[in-house]
Symmetry: C2
Amino acid sequence: MPEETLPEQIARQLRRDILRGKLPPGTSIKERDNAAEMGVSRTPMREAIRILAQEGLVILRPARSPIVAQPSIKEISDQVEVLIALEKLSAELACKNATEAEIDALAATLDYMDKNFETADPLDMFETDMGFHASLARMSHNDVIAELHRTLLERLWRARYLAARRRRNRERVIVQHGSIVDALRNRDRAAALAAIEAHLGHLDRDIRNVLAQEAEAALATE
Amino acid sequence: MPEETLPEQIARQLRRDILRGKLPPGTSIKERDNAAEMGVSRTPMREAIRILAQEGLVILRPARSPIVAQPSIKEISDQVEVLIALEKLSAELACKNATEAEIDALAATLDYMDKNFETADPLDMFETDMGFHASLARMSHNDVIAELHRTLLERLWRARYLAARRRRNRERVIVQHGSIVDALRNRDRAAALAAIEAHLGHLDRDIRNVLAQEAEAALATE
DNA sequence: TTTTTGAATTTGGTATACCAAAAATCGTTG
DNA sequence: CAACGATTTTTGGTATACCAAATTCAAAAA
């Protein structure tokens, strides 16, 4: 059995629907209706909505229906700024704290990506890529960093996915990930920082571009 | 009118009781009993408990009563590490983004502390000190940073309060805050980083000391 | 036709009832 | 007397009922 609480299951389902676009921004999430639709009562549905609100996916309004959030470009950009800062901090700390076994595991992930980059499902490869970064955060051996990083990565999932589809480039990803692993092996903090910078430096601009483009398309079909 | 929801009010009351030590770590927070005691039903009490769980003050256990968290030294230390990193990032960004008016307001806070340091209630002065740092985070003009900083400051409230009581030293606090303001005025990122480092560099060690000392005292009265 | 108003409906907030799992209690048995 | 086990109690999880605020919409008046 999955050992996941009912509110978490509901939250996961709603999260999927929101990220996949089935529930576009602005849609109201009514406790009663959604609960009935999923065959549960309002209590766990209510709790699930709170979870998503905490994640920033829905907005709670006093005495009104919660609605699916429409993150502004600024919000996304702020999140990316913090994400990058956390990864830099992770890299520095990981140089000091990561075990050899952890670095080996990270290298194995890199190797897996290298071998399967062209053949595997793009979505799987994207998940692996996210996993690489999540592992790096955990290698800081600072649970707060790992947790914050995980949360931000989750919130940025959709934006990063859209941005990644454009820059799908084996050389770039593999080489840059490789230089991160090398820096960790050498316990070279400056090199690690530089490698993160090189890898994520364009992320903010990329995401801004793809979101602006999407907003434009949305206006066109209006 | 306060316009604060009932669960938030309940959470605030419980938070006070926990931070003040009225509910020591390990105490179980029973939905039914606590709700009855405060004259509300289980539903908002339940929600309040989730809020505190999210803040890390209580631990949710599957099919068990939530209990007041006993943060380990490691957890506190991890949080301090991230807090310092966020303040450094804030200072850098504030050098670029803060308005002159914001810097003036920060300087006013500093001036207030300077004039009232000895006469005011230590708790008030501590709150003002926290407000100084919260303002700095907001001056990054990055809402994610400001929000994370606020959350961490809240979680570390008790530990910082205990640590601050020892190092209550007018010179130190006023001068160091002053150098932060000066760095911001000059838009000097390096100086701002150095000022934050000088001000918070010992925080981790101080908190570790005071917590270790407290744990020792707890054992003695056992 | 437009505006206003008030009643019906919708919706989140709160209280309560019910259930199942886990603890605790207590009696039984070796 | 100790160890085990059944039963009672406690407790969180879920469902449902009720309420009040807010919205909506229609009817009536200007």
